[in-house]
Structures are given as C-alpha cells and as structure tokens.
C-alpha cells in the first residue's frame, strides 16, 4: 500500500508562561492510501495539534513529516502551501464555508486557487455536490443550508482538488447523532471511492469503530485501539 502520510518522532511543545507544555513527544504514525484512521482522545490531548502538524499548518518542535515519502517539515512556507493545495483537504468541526458564496462557489474556490478555470471548476464542483446529495442546493448560501448540508459542502470543498490526504477535525461534532451518521457515511463513501488516506479526529467512539484503524492519543502517546473504558 502507498504510504501517504508518515509522522516520525514528532514532539510538540508550547510556551506556557515561563515554562513549556509538552503536548506529545516522539509520536509516530502512518496512514496509507485507501485507509481511514480514527484519532481519538480526550479534549486537550492534542488531536487538533496533531492534525495541524500533519496538515503542515503548524511546525513540530522536532520530528519529521513525510508526504508520499518526501520529508516536508523543513520546506519554506510557499512549498508547504503548494503541498496543502495539491495533496490535502481539510474538514473542520465548524463548516467554515464563506458566507457570501453559494455552495457551488465555495467548492469552486479552492480549484481556482489551484489554477483551474472557473468553468472547469464548476463542472467538478457540481459533480462532487451531486455525489454528496446536494445537486439541488448548488445556489444556496450556507445560511440557507442545514447543518448536515453545510458539512457536506465542506467535504466537497475539501475534495475539490482531488487530494491524496483528507484531514478531518471532529467533522460531525456539531451535528445531532442522526445527521452525524449521514454525513459520516457520505464522507466514508466518497473517500473510499477515491482511495484517499483519511485521518479523522473524533470523540464519537461509535463512528471511530467504523473506521479501519483507531489511534488513541493519551498523555502524549499514541496507542492502537479503543480506550479501555469503551472496550
């Protein structure tokens, strides 16, 4: 299997007053193409920080990040930005759609940033939104969409540039259990069909149990499997 993401001996410390807070130390993980990995752990364990580091938005204190086998943590900002644009998609707990744009335009935007023409981007955006069941909501602005629909548009936006890696931080955390299940099913179906490597931080153990692998972030260490409390 092709290894898309590998974190090797990642340590992250934050300045806290005069001291330093170590969130995790010597942490390693790998996610292969076509693999969906759940990242679970209590609030404040560092799940979001780990996703930001994997997404090249935050630099680790030490350690190395490999994207498709290439070490990238030492690259300048412009090159890390290009990797994010071409190889990664992000979904957050809040949809973070641009309120002035409709659903279609929100999915067109990242493609235009990547240099695609508006017409070509619109074709791909329409296809993605259609696959995610939003074919009749293309011209609706985020405020006119339900929470589940907003998150589906956010998923379409994350996949618009055909990334190899999808990073999702509590993508269903703001949704009720039924809607969350629907959005999660849509996310899994579309990422499986495209063979993406997916790393999803979640508190939802039921959803985590439906992924290929579960990594638990606990006291700065990663361990495979569900927390003992949940079996």
């Amino acid at each position: 299997m092709n290894e898309v993401l590998r974190l090797e001996a990642i340590t992250r410390r934050y300045r806290e007053g005069e001291g330093q807070l170590e969130v995790f130390s010597g942490l390693s993980l790998a996610v292969n193409a076509g693999e969906i990995v759940a990242l679970v752990g209590p609030s404040g364990a560092g799940k979001s920080s780990l996703l930001h580091i994997a997404g090249l938005l935050e630099a680790p204190t030490s350690g190395e990040i490999f994207i498709e086998g290439v070490a990238v943590s030492g690259l300048p900002d412009t090159e890390r930005t290009q990797i994010r644009r071409d190889k990664m998609g992000f979904v957050y707990q809040a949809h973070h759609l641009l309120p002035e744009f409709d659903a279609l335009e929100n999915v067109v935007l990242p493609q235009m940033i990547a240099g695609r023409t508006r017409a070509a981007a619109a074709v791909e955006a329409t296809r993605l939104l259609d696959v995610l069941g939003l074919g009749k909501r293309l011209t609706h602005r985020p405020s006119q969409l339900s929470g589940g629909e907003q998150q589906r548009v956010a998923i379409a936006r994350a996949l618009a540039n055909k990334p190899q890696l999808l990073l999702a931080d509590e993508p269903t955390g703001n949704l009720d259990p039924r809607t969350a299940g629907g959005v999660f099913d849509a996310l899994i179906a579309i990422t499986r069909s495209q063979g993406l490597a997916v790393l999803i931080a979640t508190h939802n153990f039921e959803l985590a149990s439906r992924m290929d692998r579960i990594l638990q972030l606990h006291e700065g260490r990663l361990v495979e499997g569900m927390p003992a409390l949940h079996g």
Binding site: S48, H52, G55, L57, E58, D77, T78, T81, Q82, R84, R85, D86, F90, Y92, A94, H96, L98, L109, P110, I113, A114, R157, N161
Partner: protein, 133 residues
C-alpha cells in the same frame, strides 16, 4: 484622514475575516494571494473614493457661485455679502497641475494605507485563527 479610515477599516475587516483567511490558507492560498486580496479591497476603496472626490470637487469649484446663490436664497441670508467681502462673485480657480497632484497624492496615500492591513492578513496564523472559532 481618508487614509487613516482605510487603515482602520481594513484592520477591522482583517480581524472580522480571520477564519475565512485561515480557510483560504488551508486551501492552499499563498500569503501573497491573501495580501493581494486585501490590497485590491483597499485600493478599490481608495480609487473609488478618489474618483468621487475628484468629480465632486471639480463640480463644486466649477459651480461655486451658483451654489453660493442657491444657499443664500435657501437660507435667506446673503453668504459672503459683497458689501462686507468686496466680492461680486465667489472666486474659484482650478489649476490642473494642482488637481492632478492632489489626485495622485490621494491614490498613493490610499495604496500605502492598504499595505499594513494587507501584510497583517498575509501573516495571520491559520491555526490561531481557527483555534478560537
């Protein structure tokens, strides 16, 4: 004053749009692209304001006597009373060179005013912007 208004207005806009800027950065927008967005926004305000200011200023100067007479009729009070000011009509002379200099200065100042807010937008840390959302 107009330049300061652009600076403060754009700084507030950058603050208000921080999550959107962060999302653009996660999508792969470069710092340069973010800076261009806010520079174009500020420059558009500056150019529009300068064009409106130029048009209103020229019209005001070209019609200053008519405006004085209209205001005098409207208020019932002679403005710049000729018996006091010894002026048969309001003098206003437009020097094209001075007008051009003012227009150029206004444009340069507004462009300069957009630089700092645009730079701040470009330097915004997406992680920090998203953390508090």
């Amino acid at each position: 004053m107009a330049a300061l208004n652009i600076v403060s207005g754009l700084i507030m806009l950058v603050k208000d749009k921080s999550p959107d800027i962060a999302i653009l950065r996660t999508m792969g927008a470069t710092r340069g692209a973010v800076m261009r967005i806010f520079f174009i926004a500020g420059a558009s305000i500056g150019v529009t304001g300068t064009i409106i200011g130029f048009a209103v200023g020229v019209l005001f100067c070209a019609n200053i006597e008519n405006i004085r007479q209209s205001l005098s009729r409207l208020t019932g009070t002679p403005l710049f009373d000729p018996t006091v000011y010894f002026l048969s009509r309001m003098p206003a002379e437009m020097a094209p060179g001075q007008v051009a200099a003012v227009v150029v200065m206004a444009l340069v100042l507004t462009f300069l005013a957009t630089l700092y807010p645009s730079w701040r937008a470009a330097r915004l840390d997406p992680v920090e912007a998203l953390r508090y959302e």
